[in-house]
C-alpha cells in the first residue's frame, strides 16, 4: 500500500526561519511522492503543535511523518512520542536536521541554506517512504548497580541506591573508604570535619544490607551492556590477588579528583622553604587546637612560629600559559575558610590573599565578608602578571601588581605561603579507558547534556557522579551523586529495559565468515557461529548499538543495518544528488 506522509517544517522561533525560507521548503516538498500534507510551524516541539500533529496523523490516517527541525539528539524522543500517542509506530517517523545542518551552518548564505534544507527534507521523505514498523528489543535488567569509587559521592550514591531497594557493589581502589573526606578539615558552611562526615557515612553503609563493599579492588575488565554489565574486579589481599565477577544493570562512576601538584619552582614550590599547598596547609591545621579551646594560640611550621601567611590563588586553575583553563570552583571558598580556621588557632596571624577575583558564589559570600571584617588583606593580581615568590630575609617575599592600587607593586614578607591548588582529573584514568567514557576539554568525564542529561554518559547505563565530572564542593558532589543514583535506579528498577531495534543483521546466504566485521565492532557484538552452510557471522541483539562500523568492511556486502539499509541510503542519495 502506498504510504501517506505528513511533513512538518519548524521555524524554531527564528533559529531556522531567519536563514532558511521555510515557506519555500514547504512549497518544494509538498508534491513529493507520498506526501499528502506539508506544514510549517513556529515550534514543532511546542505542546500545541504536538497536539496538531497527533490530530493530523489520526484524521488523515498518516502512515509516516517527517519532521524537519533541530538535531534529532534534542527531539527524537519527542516526535517518537507524538507518533506513538497517535497510534503510529514510532519508527515511521523520520527526522531531518535543518537547523544545525542548514540554518546555523550556512547563516552567511540564506538561499544556499534554503536549498540545502529542501534537499535534506526530500531525502528524509525518501527514507520515510521505505520506513517499516519496528518493535523494541526487550532485555532483562539486573537489579544491581556497581558504584566505582567510595568517596563522598560514591558513598552517598550507594546508600541511596540501597534505600531504593537496589543491590549495590561499592568498589574502592584504596584500603579505606572516604576518599578526600579523610583529608578535609572544616567544610563550609557547616564547620564539620571530613572525618565526622565519614563516620556518619560509615555507620549508614554498615547498616545497609544491600551494599557489598569491596576495598583494595580495581575493575580490570568489563563485558556486557546496560541491563547486564559483567565486571571483573581484582582484589589485592595479603595472599595475593583474587578476581571476582560482578553483574550489574548499571554502573555509577564516582572516581573523584586529584589536587593539582605544582611544578617544581611554580610560585617557589619545592624551591623556597615554607611554600606549601592548600591540602598540606589543611593537614597542618588538622592537628591543632583552637585558641578558644585551650590551644597555644600559635601555629608552628618547620620549627618556626607563623605570624603571617600569603595565599596565592588559582594555582593550577585558570592558567594563562598552562593547559588548565578552567576554574576549579571550590578553592576560593576553601582558601577563605582555611584562613578563617587558622585565625581560630592563632588569632594574631595576618592573612594576605593574592587572588584573581574571589569567587565565593552564593551564600559562600558570607564567609568572604567575615574574612574581610576580620582584617584579612585581599590583593588582586593581573591575569598576565602572576605573583613572584622568592626567599627573602626574615621570610618569603611575595610581590604582585595590585589591581586596586593602580597596579603598583605590593610586596608582602610572609612566614608561610599557601598555594591554593585546584582540582585536576584523577591520574588513574583506567575506568574511563575501560568504559570508553568521553572527556571534555578540561579532561574531566563528560555528561551527555549539562541540562537535559547531566549525569548520563554516551555509554548507555553508565552514569557519572561527583568530581570526576568536574570540580565541585561536597554539597554539589552529593547533589550530583544523588541525581546519578536516581538515573541508575531507573535503569534497573523495572527489571527489564527496552533497547533500540535499529541494529545490524547478517545475510547468512552470502556471508563467508572472514572476521572483518567482528574486528571492526567496537562493542564485541559479532560472533562466529557454525551452521549447516558453514561458518557465519552472528550479531548479539543486546550488545549491538547499530553504529554501522561492520557494514563497510564486509567484502560480500552481507550486513545491513535496520532502517539504514543500502536501499534506504541509495534512495536518499539519489534525492540529495539531484
Amino acid at each position: 500500500m502506498k504510504k501517506k506522509l505528513g511533513v512538518y517544517i519548524c521555524a524554531c522561533g527564528g533559529n531556522i526561519s531567519d536563514y532558511v525560507d521555510i515557506e519555500r521548503v514547504r512549497e518544494a516538498v509538498k508534491d513529493e511522492d507520498c506526501v499528502i500534507m506539508a506544514k510549517t510551524t513556529m515550534f514543532a516541539c511546542g505542546d500545541s503543535n504536538q497536539k496538531d500533529m497527533e490530530a493530523d496523523i489520526k484524521e488523515n490516517n498518516l502512515s509516516g511523518i517527517v519532521v524537519a527541525s533541530c538535531s534529532p539528539k534534542l527531539h527524537l524522543t519527542t516526535f517518537r512520542g507524538v507518533s506513538e500517542r497517535a497510534g503510529l509506530n514510532k519508527y515511521n517517523y523520520v527526522h531531518a536536521n535543518i537547523r544545525e545542518q542548514a540554518s546555523w551552518a550556512h547563516s552567511d548564505n540564506k538561499p544556499g541554506a534554503t536549498e540545502k534544507a529542501i534537499h535534506l527534507v526530500k531525502a528524509a521523505i525518501a527514507k520515510a517512504r521505505l520506513a517499516e514498523s519496528l518493535e523494541p528489543i526487550v532485555i532483562e535488567s539486573k537489579r544491581a548497580v556497581a558504584v566505582i569509587g567510595a568517596g563522598v559521592a560514591g558513598l552517598k550514591a550507594a546508600i541511596s541506591l540501597a534505600r531504593m531497594n537496589d543491590d549495590v557493589y561499592l568498589i574502592e581502589r584504596d584500603s579505606k573508604i572516604g576518599g578526600k573526606l579523610n583529608e578535609l578539615e572544616t567544610i563550609s558552611p557547616e564547620n564539620i570535619s571530613g572525618k565526622e562526615l565519614l563516620e556518619r557515612l560509615q555507620k549508614e553503609i554498615a547498616s545497609e544490607e544491600r551494599i557489598t563493599l569491596i576495598t583494595n579492588a580495581e575493575v580490570v575488565a568489563s563485558r556486557g551492556n546496560i541491563g547486564d554489565f559483567k565486571l571483573t574486579v581484582r582484589i589485592s589481599g595479603p595472599q595475593g590477588n583474587t578476581e571476582k565477577e560482578i553483574h550489574a544493570g548499571s554502573v555509577l562512576v564516582s572516581t573523584g579528583f586529584n589536587s593539582y601538584t605544582p611544578a617544581e619552582g611554580e610560585f617557589g614550590f619545592a624551591t623556597v622553604p615554607n611554600v606549601i599547598t592548600l591540602p598540606e596547609f589543611r593537614k597542618l591545621m588538622g592537628g591543632q587546637k583552637k585558641a578558644a579551646e585551650g590551644g597555644s594560640g600559635k601555629l608552628v611550621y618547620n620549627g618556626k612560629e607563623i605570624n603571617s601567611i600569603a595565599y596565592i590563588y588559582c594555582v593550577g586553575s585558570r592558567q594563562v600559559k598552562g593547559d588548565n583553563k578552567y576554574c576549579s570552583r571550590y578553592c576560593c571558598t576553601a582558601a577563605v575558610q582555611a584562613s578563617l580556621d587558622v585565625r581560630a588557632i592563632a588569632p594574631e596571624i595576618e592573612n594576605f590573599h593574592f587572588h584573581k577575583g574571589i569567587r565565593t558564589y552564593g551564600k559562600q559570600e558570607l564567609i568572604y565578608k567575615e574574612s574581610n571584617s576580620k582584617g584579612d588583606v585581599y590583593i588582586q593580581f593581573m591575569d598576565k602578571k602572576p605573583p613572584v615568590v622568592s626567599a627573602a630575609e626574615g621570610g618569603i617575599s611575595v610581590k604582585a601588581l595590585d589591581v586596586l592600587t593602580e597596579k603598583r607593586e605590593s610586596e608582602v614578607i610572609a612566614d608561610l605561603v599557601v598555594l591554593v591548588t585546584g582540582m585536576v582529573p584523577d591520574s588513574d584514568t583506567s575506568i574511563g579507558t575501560l568504559f570508553k567514557l568521553p572527556k571534555g576539554r578540561d579532561n574531566f568525564y563528560n555528561e551527555i547534556h549539562m541540562k537535559l542529561r547531566p549525569v548520563e554518559t554516551v555509554i548507555d547505563g553508565i552514569t557519572i557522579a561527583g568530581t570526576c565530572q568536574g570540580p565541585k564542593n561536597v554539597m554539589e558532589s552529593v547533589n550530583s551523586s544523588l541525581s546519578a543514583a536516581a538515573k541508575s535506579h531507573s535503569f534497573v528498577s523495572k527489571g527489564e529495559l527496552e533497547l533500540e531495534p535499529i541494529i545490524a543483521y547478517v545475510n547468512a546466504d552470502t556471508c563467508n565468515w572472514c572476521d572483518a566485521c567482528s574486528k571492526a565492532c567496537p562493542f564485541n557484538a559479532v560472533a562466529m557461529v557454525e551452521t549447516a552452510g558453514g561458518q557465519k557471522a552472528s550479531i548479539n541483539k543486546s550488545t549491538c548499538k547499530g553504529c554501522g562500523m561492520c557494514l563497510p568492511v564486509c567484502p560480500s556486502d552481507s550486513i545491513e543495518l535496520i532502517s539504514f539499509t543500502n536501499r534506504d541510503m541509495e534512495d536518499m542519495i539519489d534525492v540529495l544528488a539531484l
Partner: protein, 434 residues
Amino acid sequence: MQKEPITLTYDAIVIGGGIAGGEAALNLANNGYKVVLVESRLSVGGKMIMLSKVFPTLDCSACITTPKVSEISRHPNIKIFTESDITSIDKLGEQSFVVKMTQRPRYVVAEDCTACQLCEQACPVIVKDQFQYGLVGRKAVYIPFSIASPKVAAIDIDNCTLCGACEKVCPPGCIDFTMKPKEYIFNVKTAIVATGFRLYDPTNVPRYSYGTAKNVITSIQMERLLAPTRPFHTILRSSDGKVPDKIAYVLCAGSRDDSMGNPICSQICCMYSIKQAQLLLGALPMADITIYYIDIRAFGKGYDEFYEQAVSMGVRFVKGKIGKITEKENGNLTLRYEDVATGKLKEAEHDMVVLSVGVKPNKEAADLFKSHKLELDGLSFVKQSDPLLSPAKTSIDGVFVAGAATGPKDIPDSILSAGAASTEAISYLNQKSQ
C-alpha cells in the same frame, strides 16, 4: 459554589512547576510514583521557559525546556494543576500529608480551548504583559505566551470589563464567566518544595533609576528582548524604538550589598550577563557592550572559558561598582562609578542600561506548612537540615527541597538538586514502608 472539596490521592506532591519541580516530578513518575504538581501561575516552565539562550553552551532555552515541559504534561503518572494555590499542608504522620489547594478560575474551559487567539483579537482591554515583564501589552483575555503549557487562554478578571466580546467570537464557546474557584484536598506521602526564587526588585535602589529612567531595564527584560519569541523581533529601546549601540550591564544590582538588602552573591548574574553580551554582539555587531563588575564569578564547568570567549569577542569589562545612574534628555544614561583600575571617579554615557538583578527568596513556601514548621535560613531561603550529606532534606521529615528554593542556583545545579530531592523522596517512600 462547590460544596465539598475534591479529594485525590497521590504518592508525592511537587510544589512549583519550574525546571527543578518538573525534573523532580519526572524522576518520581518515571520510577512509577503518582505525582501531583502544583503551579501558581498559568503555565509550567518557570523562569527557564522565558529565557533566550543558556550559558555556557548557548543552547536555545525554549528548545531544551519544551521537551521537558511536554514530557511532564503528558506523563501518565503526573497530574498538573496550574493557576493554583496551596493553602495548607499538614503532616499527620510519616508518609501521611494532607494538602489543601484552591484552583483559581481561568474563565476559559481549558479542555475546549484551541488557542486560536480570536478572543485576544476581540478583547478591547490592553494592560501590561507580565510574561513579557512589562515590555509590551496584552489583552485582558490572553494566552500567557506562545510556548505556554497548557497553551490555553485565560481571563484576567481584575482588568476585564465583562463586555462579552470574547464570548461572542470564541468558536468552541469555551468562555465561562460563571467559573468559581475549585477546592481540592490531596492525600500524599511525601512533598517536594520547588518554589524557586524571586528576582530582586530594583526599585529598592532609587539611585539606579529603574522605573523612572526609560532606558534602564532589568536583565530578565533583556532576556525577553533576546528570546526567539521576543516581542519586537529585534533589540530596541521600547521607549523610543532606537536600536541601542552602547549598552551597559550593572552587575550586583541587588546582590553582595547589605544596603540593598541582600548580602550574598546571586551566583547566576555574572554568567547570564556574559551570555547576553555575547548574544547582543551577535544581534547588534556594531554595538559596544560594557560590563561593570566587582568580581566575575565564572565558576562552573566551561564557565571561565565562556568568560574568556566574551573578552576575546570584544565585550568590555570594567571593574567598578556603579554609584548612580541619571537619565539625560535624549533618554541616554550617565553612569557614575569608581574605576578600580585607576582609582578615579568616572562617568560614562550609555544609551541602554541593563541591571543584572539578583536572586531573592520566595518566603511563601514556609507559610504553607501548618502542623510542622518548615524552617528558613537567616536569608529566608528554605533551610537545609543536612546541607553537606543530604542537601535536599528540610526541617520536616518527608518534605524535600529542590532548586533555587534553598538559595541561588544556575540551571545545571537546580536540575542536580532536583535529582537529589527525588532520590531522597523515593528512599523515604521505600524505607518507611518496610
